[in-house]
Amino acid sequence: MKIDKQTVLELYRTMTRLREFEMKIQELYRSGVLPGFVHLYVGEEAVAAGVCANLSKTDMVWSTHRGHGHALAKGVPGRQVMAELWGKATGCSAGRGGSMHMYAPGCGFMGTNGIVGSGITMSAGGALSAQLRKSGQVTVCFFGDGASNSGSFYEGLNLASVWNLPVVYVCENNLYATEMSLERATKSLDIAARAAIFKMPGVTVDGSDARRVYEAAGEAISRARKDGGPTLIECKTYRFHGHHEGDPGTHYRSKEEIESWKKRDPIKALRESSMAEKVAGADEFDAIDRETQAWLEDAVEFGRVSPEPDPETALDFVW
């Protein structure tokens, strides 16, 4: 499949935004400005960008604890994500959720989540709702290799399969569940192959290649939308940073391993391969880089000047 220039630039724009956003979050977090804990998406951008480029606004995404990138790629405004990480009233969850609990249903974003695997069953439910309402919506559930060993994985995929639900499961296999390597966690290392248990298609893609992710997700989403049922896509990827900000990520991963993945940086790879193929020129990528910086500065300033939530609202929306 030939991916057009506009799509390539769009994938690059999304990935660049995700990367620059996270690097800024790291800086703000380290300087003590942001409360809480953050899990950065750096290195995995091709997955969110490639998948979400195939979705419409009303399609639904269930995300993870490493979910800032999913939110941005699904179209939640950068200002709102930034303000939420700041705990401000203007955040997408008005400061009630923070990094691991941010919701923007108006953008089809059904939440980041601090409970590993929980989205796998809920996204099947979202897909059941879409099927019952004949809405044509597709749901996507992102999760990691860690969730693939949870009970939710088996229960969720089984239900999605038996009812032929319009859900696409995207496993971001970054090889480590916190510090636990997949090789130490299971003998079933081929996660996509597990799809066969449930008689659904299972696909493995290079999660550092945005175009391959875009293609694989496009096919699965299109199939789901045509009542063709669920798909499991395993994206082989890597987080360049530790599990959470503050974890150097080097106690359980060798420097050589980290460096080898950084050489496959998905943003650099898309830019260089596209230029080599003469799909787009350096000036076009540079323009996106400049535009991204302006976008980021605007988001940071918005987060910085936004008001704190009114303590009087702390008990709102309980019942």
């Binding site: 809920m122 969720g156 929306f317």
Partner: protein, 330 residues
Amino acid sequence: MVTNGKREITYGDAGVEALGEEMRRDPSIVYIGQGIGPRGGNFRQTKGLWAEFGDHRLRDTAITELGETGMAIGAAMAGNRAIVDNVFLDFSLEAMTQIVQQAANAHFLSNGELKVPLMVRGSMGSVRNAGVQHSHTFYAWFAHIPGLKVVVPATPYDVKGLMKTALRDDCPVIFIEHKALYNIKGNVPAEEYLIPFGKANICRAGTTATLVAVGRMVHVALDAARILDQEGISLEVLDPRTIAPLDREGIAASIRKTTRVAVVEEAHASCGFSGEVFSVACEDCFDSLDAPPKRICARPAPNAFSPELENRILPDVERVVTEIRDWMNS
């Protein structure tokens, strides 16, 4: 069945009637659970509904409480009204993370944007010596969590009226029937009615002491009250109907009138609902108390299988009568 001009149906059928009426009224309702389709439910709690609503809306599942409950929550977040029937509340523990961490929080965390119109249905309590793993009484666990409503109906009338209210609520409701009550009969009007949450039912008026109970223990309390009435002890039996929200005002008003309060529970006492009722007594009407509050709960052991052992652990009419009599004389 109609007696004295009043229509009588069972506790189980009252739930079926509520479901049928609400599923007809609200086409967005989907009912997910085990054996709830052609079988009509382990307790006949969905009897006849499959014939009317079919596989489309009555979704039989594998034994997959975590999956079916997570799925119901997702469907509710996405625009349907979902019922998930875990059949035994004991099995809801498999899905506790979804109920507590997802369903209870989504409305709050989305700043009110997401609604979670969900009813989690499960039966509690002891019946026919089923043994500990099918006999738990967990309502207080759920009531501890902000964002969940907890309904514990005692009569067929309450099942219908409370379930219809649950099926119009936009937040998660844990609907806990007592499995030993499914076959009891009582008056249930054919016409529509709803019972509001957070409004206690004075099942029996009295003047000497207030006896608070839910579920099957309401019936135990009423039987004990009839016996003690012969001895001049006039018990007011109060059923809160919903543990969350809790009718603190109604309980306090009754205590102010009677000056004493006791709680009868099939659940354990430790960190439980009885302590919550005591907090009403101590915080809201302490000056009205003529005696320390009293709790008569399951003794602190797992529910045993042998009838002899189980009867020792759970409160019954005889124990309630004895303990209330001693308490009144102390």
